[in-house]
């Protein structure tokens, strides 16, 4: 695969250097007609059987016209053979540092006009005697060999370590400008290194976000996707810093294939888990199954990887389309994923080197957009929670509550100053307790009841009544979301006129770690529906907040239920799993 990388680099070089030409050298009758200058257009091989005593590959005089003519890509696998190729050298058109670039799987030794120029591994007649060579060979052609006219490149090759039949084991066989080859390899590897760096950093950042900020599954999946992508690109780049012998090639291909499988699985999972999609388990299973099926399609590793990623993008597209249709989300993701699919369809061949990187950039962009949007909404949620906290305090220090109480005080001061002092005492008690409670997400039920009683005292002062709260059940060691009962009772007064003959009732029940509270507040008529307005909004927001906080550690469900009972009580029921301190 990396050889393809080199081919890309080579294409890069030849784009700059090629110029087709005609050249003949009639002096060598046995040599074929070679039209293109400085290229091997006629490659012939002859298999060597173990019986052959003397191997004749390199003499210029050998008649090779009857040898098998092949394309370099179709080098025989698990064989031992001779190779001969003539090149018409035109020094005028040759670059300054002409070198021979050979990329193939096998052990080899090459000769230029019957002079040894390179040895790669040790050619052998069997797997036992062969010592595998590295994949790419770059050799400077001796200067005295570079004269105008035909020259012979010959070699002896063994490929016994290929093992399982591959699509192709010959990648590149050409004369290149060494310097420009290196600079283009450098350019491409800088790009790769850049992507690897980004992927690793994103992976680390989102691990940190996951562990230190918010444990969202989608953050973890995104981090793993980036990590896997970085590994794919790194293994791909391994060639440049690991001069491994060709028998490891298949392993490396397998590794990339495996990593691609993982990445292909993570990509649709990300969209699946970042959306509020229904039936996550079934969809996950279907995706996994289809990817497994795709991986059994017998193709080369490279094509399978490409196919897997294709399947993965299709799944992601379907998930996003679903989101667009059913939840009215924006269409950016669908557009970008479709673009990636078209791109992948058009150039599937250079998938790992090229396609993956570009698709990766596209996809990561959509993921980042989705994540940032999610973070934004989480931030809004956090702000809302903060608002709830101040809301509680504000609701009671609201001008109208305060002003009504002050009006009362003015009258008391003028007519009954001692009562005024008492009233100020309960009023300040209420504010003090509320200030303490508003800082807490949850409070002891007994404290909440104290607050409720205090509020009833204030209301008793204001309406010259004797309101009462009757408790049934054991209130000890129960935590509740702060101030919900208080809000409910307060709400009751803003919407009703209540006679003191009718008491408030709280029924507490604790069973199997689940707490149930039933609050009955007197109500004069069905028309005066209690629980409209700010009070109810506050209670709902409060419950949602506690719910969200506790979701991290346990499965907590709070349910509320309000109804109107025939005997003129408004009944509010709360039930929730025991809160931990």
């Amino acid at each position: 695969m990396l050889i393809r990388f080199v081919i890309l680099a080579f294409i890069f070089v030849t784009l700059v250097n090629t110029s087709p030409s005609f050249a003949f050298d009639e002096n060598r009758q046995h040599a074929p007609v070679v039209r293109d200058a400085n290229k091997f257009t006629d490659i012939r091989i002859r298999l060597i059987s173990p019986a052959d005593k003397k191997i004749q590959c390199h003499q210029l005089t050998i008649q090779d016209k009857n040898w098998q003519k092949i394309n370099f890509e179709d080098l025989p696998q698990n064989k031992h053979f001779c190779i001969r190729a003539w090149a018409n050298i035109d020094t005028a058109k040759l670059s300054s540092n002409p070198s021979l670039l050979i990329g193939m799987l096998g052990a080899s030794s090459f000769y230029w006009d019957n002079v040894l120029i390179s040895e790669n591994g040790e050619v052998g007649a069997s797997k036992n005697t062969e010592i595998p060579g590295v994949i790419t060979t770059l050799v400077r052609i001796p200067e005295q060999g570079l004269t105008n006219g035909l020259h012979l490149l010959s070699g002896e090759i063994s490929t016994f370590h290929v093992g399982k039949e591959l699509d192709s084991i010959g990648y590149v066989f050409t004369i290149v400008n060494e310097q420009s080859l290196y600079s283009s390899i450098l350019l491409l590897s800088v790009l790769s290194a850049f992507l690897i760096g980004i992927s690793f950093i994103l992976a680390i950042i989102f691990q940190l976000i996951y562990w230190l900020y918010q444990k969202e599954v989608s953050y973890q999946i995104f981090s793993l996707f980036c990590f896997t992508s970085a590994l794919i690109l790194s293994v791909e780049q391994a060639k440049f810093w690991l001069e491994y012998t060709y028998d490891w090639h298949a392993f490396r291909l397998f590794l990339i294939y495996l990593l691609t499988f993982i990445a292909s699985l993570l990509l649709p999972f990300f969209y699946l888990f970042s959306e509020k999609s229904p039936k996550k388990r079934i969809v996950s299973f279907v995706i996994l199954l289809s990817l497994v099926v795709l991986s059994f399609v017998t193709l080369s590793y490279d094509e399978t990887s490409s196919l897997l990623f294709f399947g993965s993008l299709v799944s992601a597209l379907i998930i996003n389309l679903y989101a667009v249709i059913y939840t009215n989300k924006d269409k950016v993701n669908v557009f970008i994923i479709s673009l990636s699919l078209v791109f992948l369809y058009l150039i599937p061949d250079y998938f790992i080197e090229f396609g993956f990187s570009i698709v990766f950039i596209f996809v990561v962009m959509t993921m980042l957009i989705a994540l940032i949007k999610e973070m934004q909404s989480n931030k809004l949620k956090a702000l809302k929670a903060q608002r709830i906290k101040t809301e509680l305090l504000r609701r009671n220090m609201q001008p109208h509550f305060l002003m009504n109480c002050l009006t009362q005080l003015v009258e008391l001061i003028e007519v009954k100053p001692t009562k005024a002092v008492e009233f100020i005492a309960v009023l300040s008690d209420e504010f003090r307790q509320l200030t303490v409670q508003s800082d807490k997400k949850q409070v002891a039920l007994s404290d909440e009841i104290k607050l409720c009683n205090n509020h009833l005292t204030i209301m008793s002062f204001r309406y010259l009544q004797a309101y009462q709260l009757i408790i049934e059940g054991d209130v000890s060691e129960i935590l509740i979301p702060s101030s919900i009962l208080h809000s409910q009772i307060e709400n009751c007064f803003t919407h009703n006129e209540i006679s003191s003959a009718r008491a408030f009732k709280l029924i507490v029940d604790k069973r199997d770690g689940r707490i149930s509270l039933i609050l009955k507040t007197p109500i004069e008529s069905r028309v005066n529906r209690q629980g409209t307005g700010l009070g109810e909004k506050y209670i709902k927001a409060k419950l949602a907040e506690v719910d969200q906080v506790n979701k991290q550690t346990s499965k907590l469900q709070i349910s509320t239920f309000s109804s109107y009972e025939e005997n003129k009580y408004w009944v509010s029921k709360y039930s929730f799993d025991e809160l931990s301190a």
Binding site: Q408, L409, V410, L412
Partner: protein, 239 residues
């Protein structure tokens, strides 16, 4: 004798309003009835004619303003006493005579009641709408749409500057309506109030009788004693 109704749900505050009103209006020997909710008060109001409603109104929701529209459409004046001071301007726009914010002093209540006694005194803000009782519903008429108002016994006939509904009858008499209107409405005659923004010209007729011609082509007579005031107003406008 003066008939006053107080609607206030908190007993101590009700006691305060009652006590202070009795003190302030002691010379008038008012007859005051208190209610702790609006439902009971409305039953009473439907069957008795009164001069003033002192109303504690929870103006938090739209509902509060619906109630207010109902009361300002009536023949009596309404003074709102409420903790929702931020809603005062809106309340004025619907035509309350005054808005007393809680907590209130004796002086502030006295000022509001004074406004009732001296019919020359206008409300702080002119209202923007007049609530008019129609069959089955209260309708709001924009003040800007009124061209002139004509006294019609205890009622007032409101002439509108629009094609659809040219007149409407209001339950308040012309003196009470005048107290609510903004400064561009002038009492030009014992029986007429005119929207001065619509005056086209002053017409002098034979026998030194004057009248106003409106842009809507109607002619309104000017009372002998009102002529100077009308002239003065128009002179100020043309400055």
């Amino acid at each position: 004798m003066m008939n006053i109704v107080i609607v206030e749900d908190e007993p101590l505050v009700q006691q305060r309003t009652l006590r202070l009103t009795l003190e302030i209006l002691s010379t008038k020997q008012p007859k005051i009835i208190c209610f702790s909710n609006l439902d009971d008060a409305e039953v009473y109001l439907a069957e008795n004619s009164i001069d003033l409603l002192l109303l504690d109104l929870n103006l938090m929701g739209r509902n509060g303003f619906e109630l207010l529209k109902n009361n300002v459409a009536a023949a009596y004046h309404t003074i709102v006493i409420s903790a929702y001071a931020d809603k005062a301007i809106e309340a004025f726009e619907y035509g309350v005579l005054d808005f007393v914010a809680k907590p209130y002093t004796r002086e502030r209540l006295a000022k509001a009641l004074e406004r009732l006694l001296e019919s020359a005194k206008r409300s702080y803000y002119g209202c923007r709408y007049l609530s008019i009782k129609k069959v089955g519903a209260i309708e709001l008429v924009a003040i800007a749409d009124i061209s002139y108002i004509q006294a019609e016994g205890h009622y007032s006939l409101i002439h509108l500057n629009n094609e659809v509904d040219s007149t409407a009858l209001h339950a308040k008499n012309i003196e009470k309506i005048m107290q609510l209107l903004p400064a561009n409405f002038l009492r030009v005659h014992r029986s007429y109030i005119v929207n001065m923004n619509l005056v086209k010209k002053l017409v002098i007729e034979e026998g030194s009788r004057y009248s106003i011609q409106l842009t809507t082509a109607q002619e309104i007579p000017i009372g002998r004693t009102k002529y100077q005031a009308v002239k003065q107003y128009l002179a100020l406008q043309t400055l």
